[in-house]
Amino acid sequence: MASAKNKPELLKNGKRLDGRDLMELRPIRIEAGVIKNADGSAYLEWGNNRVIAAVYGPMEAQPKHSADPARAVIKCRYQMAPFSGLADHGRTGPNRRATEISKVTREAFENVVLLNEFPGTEINVYIEILQSDGGTRAAGITAASVALANAGIPMKDMIYAVSFGKIGDKLILDLNMLEDNYSDCDMPMAISPKSGDILLLQMDGNLTMEELKTGIQQVINAGKTISAAQQDALKRFYTEKQQAGSGEGRSEAETTG
């Protein structure tokens, strides 16, 4: 949270600066199967966020001592591209923030991926923020979930994530960068929609008990829209691929002999 100094007005006539209602999500569009080499992948546009996620595995865990003989291990790497921000040129390589996000993201997926089906293996989840506008960890989890499904990784559920926050005494959903910087609370959550279980939860700022309850309920309600966008991406991938198949496709062999 930035200090209250120079804090811009974030609400005008009950609307947010980008014209949204308090509980309105930014537009979400996802495309599955965008990285040909990966076992599963997804590209996501969420407001001005641009995220790409790729999954490799399950495959033999490397180095060998990182393997768990009883289950698969998930390795997750969240990173921001150096050109992803408006005002800065970020350095590549994981910083403390990215390392923490990678950890809590991994833990959220460890809850739903059926790890005991692939002992001794690793599943690699790479999340790259190509353009950031607030809520990138939620966007990353939402994209990676599609990539995991696209990779055929057995999971109990397809999870999604979104954050809620507060401007003055008004609760808001899906904070953009400006709101993230100046609001009175930011609380990103990842949810398993089947059970409603909370798999990632972080918060800073201030909330009353009442606001906490309402906020969580709003995150649950938003799940319908976000899950629909995830499922739509996969449906399009599998139905369009079948239509694209009418052509001969790229041939890989020349006639010999």
Binding site: I35, N37, R50, P82, F83, Y126, E252
Partner: protein
């Protein structure tokens, strides 16, 4: 999976020996190329290139910096490359590999040698200049990263809108002025497979190649070269490939130089 690559490489060598390629291309043809410009609005410039199944994203950030001591009246051009571990099974997270560093340096060299960005025009005032950061992201690797990256970087630079510098302050709200780019540098990368040479090798072809030669030119002059891998080219081959590279420039310039954002 290296053993599988051996089998694939043997087959590719056999094919190329007969003058054929797996994807039915001529030995000296590029794969299909497509470019999308301006897809990262936060960046000052960006472009995504698909060269067959190779996919590269280049982003340009223009930041306020200070001139180097030995060039006090110039700005700076800084090119880096990221082998994103999502782009191929064999890419590993970590500090830049020698391959990633070579990629960035080869791409940088041609553009720098041809003065595509006039570094003097990036000078602002005493002790202040623009630093042009160009970051190459490999999103999917199916061979010939150098040519795909060169195209992406060139297109991203031509897409770049400069921030304003007013009274010592950077204003990114108004990015209407374009970065002035002089000429178009294009690279052509050749792979030696058996005794024959192909242009624009795929990932499988790169596994089968013994040597690689990249020639960057601006349509008139050769601007940068890089030979890679442990095999060799003879003098005639280098001359012939340089000639072909110059010939290919017009075709590539047309693809890179399209003005639409």
């Amino acid at each position: 999976m290296e053993a599988i690559d051996i089998v694939k490489s043997n087959y590719i060598r056999e094919l190329i020996n007969k003058g054929q390629r797996q994807d039915s291309r001529d030995l000296l043809s590029f794969r299909d190329i497509s470019i999308k410009r301006g897809i990262i609005q936060n960046a000052e410039g960006s472009a995504q290139v698909e060269l067959g199944d190779t996919k590269i994203l280049a982003g340009v950030k223009v930041m306020l910096g200070s001139p180097m001591e030995d060039t006090p009246e110039q700005g700076n051009q800084i090119v880096s490359a990221e082998y994103w571990p999502g782009a191929a099974r064999e890419f590993e997270p970590g500090p830049p590999s020698p391959e990633a560093i070579e990629l960035a340096r080869v791409v940088d060299r041609g553009i720098r040698a041809a003065n595509c960005i006039n570094l003097e025009s990036l000078y602002l005032e005493e002790g202040k200049c623009w630093d042009v950061y160009v970051d190459v992201y490999v999103l999917n690797h199916d061979g010939n990263l150098i040519d795909a990256s060169s195209m992406a970087v060139m297109a991203a630079l031509m897409d770049t809108r400069m921030p304003k510098y007013e009274n010592g302050v950077v204003n990114r709200e108004d990015r209407t002025n374009k970065l002035k780019v002089n000429g178009v540098v294009a690279t052509t990368t050749f792979a030696k497979i058996g005794d024959r040479i192909v242009l624009d090798p795929t990932g499988d072809e790169e596994n089968a190649m013994s040597a690689r030669l990249t020639v960057a030119n601006d349509g008139k002059l050769i601007r940068a070269m890089q030979k890679g891998k442990s095999g060799s080219f003879n003098i005639d081959e280098v001359e012939e490939l340089s000639r072909i590279s110059l010939e290919k420039h017009a075709e590539l310039k047309k693809i890179i130089g399209s003005e639409q954002r």
